[in-house]
Symmetry: C2
Subunit: 349 residues, 2 copies
């Protein structure tokens, strides 16, 4: 049977993190926010007119665009709403990459990029970070890319590249290739690259409501870019890609600035506590600008620790990819969850 295109036939597909059914587990494996979303989200969902369920959603998510534009100091026309950040990645791959226009990215990074390139049947060029964790700007810029991606802060390492370095890359690529800065985790970082959108018409910023806003369940992401890029990308997105309930929830969440700041501050505090504890247990814990830590156990056997934690109903993320198989990616949980993890690790080690 050869119904499928050969690149799809050959693809393994993306394997999302394990989603255990048991609600009592300590789930630190898929970078969800451990705190609930703003109470304003629940209020907004409860207040939805049932009439809106039977009607098609707003194609462009106008209300969210206005709210996000106000928060980010851009225009609504600079924003595209997407069905999670991953939908924006797919839209960009389909807009900018193909057989003659490769995807280039700084690596190691989010493994979905490679999977999406295979579906789009475009070549992938991975450019390693420097030993100090910086960008190889010249190499990233000289590949005739359809699109270059820098995940910042990066997953799964948690490291943050200073915006000045990203700007240098944007400048080199300008007029030739698009630069996507995947800021899915930027809510936990010290800075961001939104201001580049006003200076460079080739920069796209990816944002997500899944992490800082505790809304992974509703699938809402968005892109920020020059109007010329947004209007082209709107042709590629599905007409009604974001449903009415998700639009309502995302809009309520982004407007509640006070809750957002408290939520993020709580996670950063816990992140620093957890990092300190893990260092105390002999782990190598690089600084993180995200809601997770990418740690290396003193003994080196990440996989065994991962399995022993699973046995105790504590889930963290282990990647078998040899480049990163010595480490575990641990999502920052609530104080209670993080304490449980540290207790369990003390038992295991």
């Amino acid at each position: 049977m050869a119904y499928f295109r050969s690149n799809i036939e050959a693809a393994a597909g993306y394997v999302p993190g394990f989603q255990p059914e048991n609600p009592d587990v300590v789930k630190l494996n898929t970078n969800e926010n451990p705190y609930p979303p703003s109470p304003k989200v629940l209020e907004a969902l409860a207040a939805i007119d049932p009439e809106k369920l039977r009607r098609y959603p707003r194609p462009l998510g106008d209300e969210f665009r206005k709210s996000a534009a106000a928060v980010l100091d851009v225009k609504p026309e600079n924003i595209i709403c997407t069905n999670g950040g991953d939908d924006l990645l797919t839209i960009c791959l389909r807009s900018f990459c193909d057989g003659g226009r490769p995807l280039v990215y700084a690596s190691p990074t989010y493994t979905l990029y490679r999977v999406l390139a295979q579906i789009q049947d475009c070549r992938v060029i991975e450019v390693p970070f420097t030993d100090k964790g910086g960008l190889q700007t010249e190499q990233l810029a000289s590949q005739n890319a359809g699109m270059v991606i820098v995940c910042n802060p990066n997953a799964p390492t948690g490291a943050f590249i200073p915006p000045a370095q990203i700007e240098e890359l944007a400048q080199k690529l300008n007029g030739r290739s698009v630069l996507l800065v995947d800021e899915a985790y930027v809510d936990f970082a010290e800075d961001n690259c939104v201001s580049l959108v006003k200076k460079y018409n080739n920069v796209i910023i990816l944002r997500s409501m899944s992490k800082g806003y505790s809304l992974a369940g509703i699938r809402f992401g968005f892109g920020i870019a020059d109007e010329s890029l947004i209007s082209g990308m709107l042709k590629v997105k599905d007409s009604y890609n974001v449903d009415t309930l998700a639009q309502t929830a995302a809009n309520a969440a982004i407007q509640d600035r006070q809750y957002f700041k408290k939520n993020v501050a709580g996670i950063i505090e816990q992140r620093e506590w957890l990092a300190q504890q893990l260092r105390g247990l002999g782990f190598d814990v690089p600084q993180s600008s995200t809601n997770f830590l990418f740690v290396k156990p003193a003994g080196g056997d990440a996989e065994t620790i991962y399995k022993k934690l699973c046995d105790k109903n504590i889930y963290v993320r282990y990647f078998s990819d040899p480049e990163i198989s010595e480490r575990l990616r641990i999502t920052v949980g609530t104080a209670r969850q993080n304490e449980k993890l540290i207790e369990a690790l003390k038992n295991i080690l």
Copy 2:
């Protein structure tokens, strides 16, 4: 600037039907169901644990798959959940079509097929229906298609092709090309093609919760096919393409069989009343197996009638495409809405 691929640069994009903001209009232009969704949907949404909002959704929509499988007498593994039916179309285009594998469909039909083919950069071959509205089976089957689509019942004509004709096409294509039967409107028809899935491993049935279940606002569609096709398509779909709220709403809706049957019966009754009234006003009204009528005014000037209805805050759909520009597509509304339309038309004519 040449950031975009040339096919995207050249694309016009899909123009969704006008969504007026004023809630008092009579909106018969985008084939939404005029009745609210099942009260069970609202109950299920109100009962959602806020904890579920912060967690990623079930990647495969397991609960919906089970419910739909029971209703349709197939296995959960025969079902793929999608972000509206349009998401399934995109997944199929990306799975089966490319530069060497054209998209073939019976036309005139849903204009999105052509738009999606342009984004996928694959050739389109349109095979007209016969004068009697049947399929040109031989021609559809002999194009070395990556995928053939038959929209059944068809949009915008409303006509229904007997499953035996579709089966003949499935058989001819088997082993070579996939056949997608777009049954977005089948809830209002007298029969369907689901049983073909068990006989032919190349048949995919598209279904939507937007029409018969009054849930256009939540974006939920699904595909039904042989497991071998479903497992390949799952590699192409986004990991978390359907959010938790939509999964919950769709699952509640498909389980409430009694409400569904009543809802659909009400629309069919109104459809027949509206058809009779329009015929009385001199319109040509072909039989419809959907929740809309595709009508031709006696005078012939569909565009003028469309505009005059807009002035009265009554919206129907007019397509400027010369092939179908003599007709209007009118969604069947509530009794009150349909009466208002008939009154308005009596004034206009």
